[in-house]
Symmetry: C2
Subunit: 238 residues, 2 copies
């Protein structure tokens, strides 16, 4: 999980097309030589984010971007993939019984990191980047340092290779993430292309947990969200 | 990785249709209340094993059997999925540079266990069974106790649940596995339906690493392989 400067090696960024992974991609551009990106089509309702990921990868001049089709591979009652279930509107996972959001898909991040590691090995890459945060994590257990450490160890053991999972946002609130984005060249522009709304709506619904978290982060940072600015300045209207 | 008796709970067995997973399925029938099985279509050359898995599951009266389509999800130069590459013939991984068989597919077992864990959670199951062995493991790093322990920890962390990965064959040679099979009701019959050959051939090619290992195990145990007996007694000829 160390994030030493590795300007002599390439990395693979898991790019969902959302705010966090977009910020991670630009963080990676600062720390690594060349960037590869990977996105996952797991049957998510908000498919608009796959298009966002493509545009953000192109805008960042990555070496290659791959969208992996894994529709139907994961089962869950999560409204993110079970489209008959409403996403629901609530402010934080603390309001929920059990403390885990109903949007949680069991094993999603394990699967993403596993397939990413497979592609990394094939490309000769040993550094993965994922935009999980243990602060505003919505009760997802697979966004915590203990999980990331376990996953890193498992990949090292299972591949007999030194794989590193970089998690630059692991200790950051959404506000911190916005402030980090401000320091990364091109990142705020890229965020105009990013997608966050769990309803897959544009303009964003403004009511789902993801929308509320994003809005709170920009508000606390005192920055206008480029996504909510002049519609003519972002990709969604083009 | 503990294998205490759990006759009051159900388990999910990863069933490839080969000798080891068939033996594990029958081991699980002894230790668990009800058995679910899962097989993976990852584009393997020896697709005959998927049919074998179905038949073996049916023969064992499992509660349900699912074949999961994940063709194209993993990339590798392994001849198991890259069909233009010959499997090659050699006696042991020790003969190979690096000590890892060219049939190794990076992250295959991680992926199998991850998708199996997703299905287990949906079914309310906390016990997974996989037929890996660290003895006759062909240099695969994802067949060793350290990997299994890491994977188990990762699943527990990532799901916030007590998941157990049972590996009854982890310390067994092929000979030991044959001797175990002899003690499990119905297992030797089931092995007549199993498939091992890396070439996907029937009758088995008898030359690939998998064929040689299987033959050695039965020979050392002093038992005739039910697969190599009277063709009219096994499924392949029906």
């Amino acid at each position: 999980m160390s994030t030493d400067n590795k300007k002599d090696v390439s990395c693979l960024v898991i790019l969902s097309g959302g705010q966090d992974s977009t910020t991670c991609l630009h963080w990676a551009k600062r720390h690594f030589k060349e960037i590869h990106t990977i996105a996952f089509d797991y049957g998510q309702k908000h498919r608009i984010e796959l298009k966002s990921a493509e545009r953000i990868a192109h805008h960042a001049h990555v070496l290659d971007h791959e969208t992996i089709d894994m529709r139907g591979l994961m089962k869950s009652t999560s409204p993110l993939i079970e489209h008959t279930h409403p996403v629901g509107q609530y402010k934080s996972a603390e309001d929920l019984p059990g403390g885990i959001e109903p949007t949680f898909i069991p094993c999603r991040n394990i699967l993403f990191l596993t397939v990413a590691a497979n592609r990394a090995v094939v490309k000769g890459i040993k550094d993965l980047v994922i935009g999980v945060s243990a602060v505003d994590y919505g009760g997802y257990p697979d966004c915590r340092p203990g999980f990331i450490k376990g996953m890193e160890d498992t990949l090292c053991q299972g591949l007999e290779m030194d794989i590193t999972i970089h998690v630059p946002l692991i200790s950051m609130s959404k506000k911190d993430t916005v402030l980090l984005a401000l320091t990364l060249p091109g990142c705020m522009e890229a965020l105009a292309y990013s997608h966050t709304c769990y309803e897959g709506a544009f303009p964003p619904c403004g009511k789902c947990h993801a929308c509320l978290l994003r809005a709170k982060g920009f508000q606390e940072a005192g920055i206008e969200d480029p996504l909510s600015g002049d519609p003519s300045s972002n990709s969604h209207s083009k």
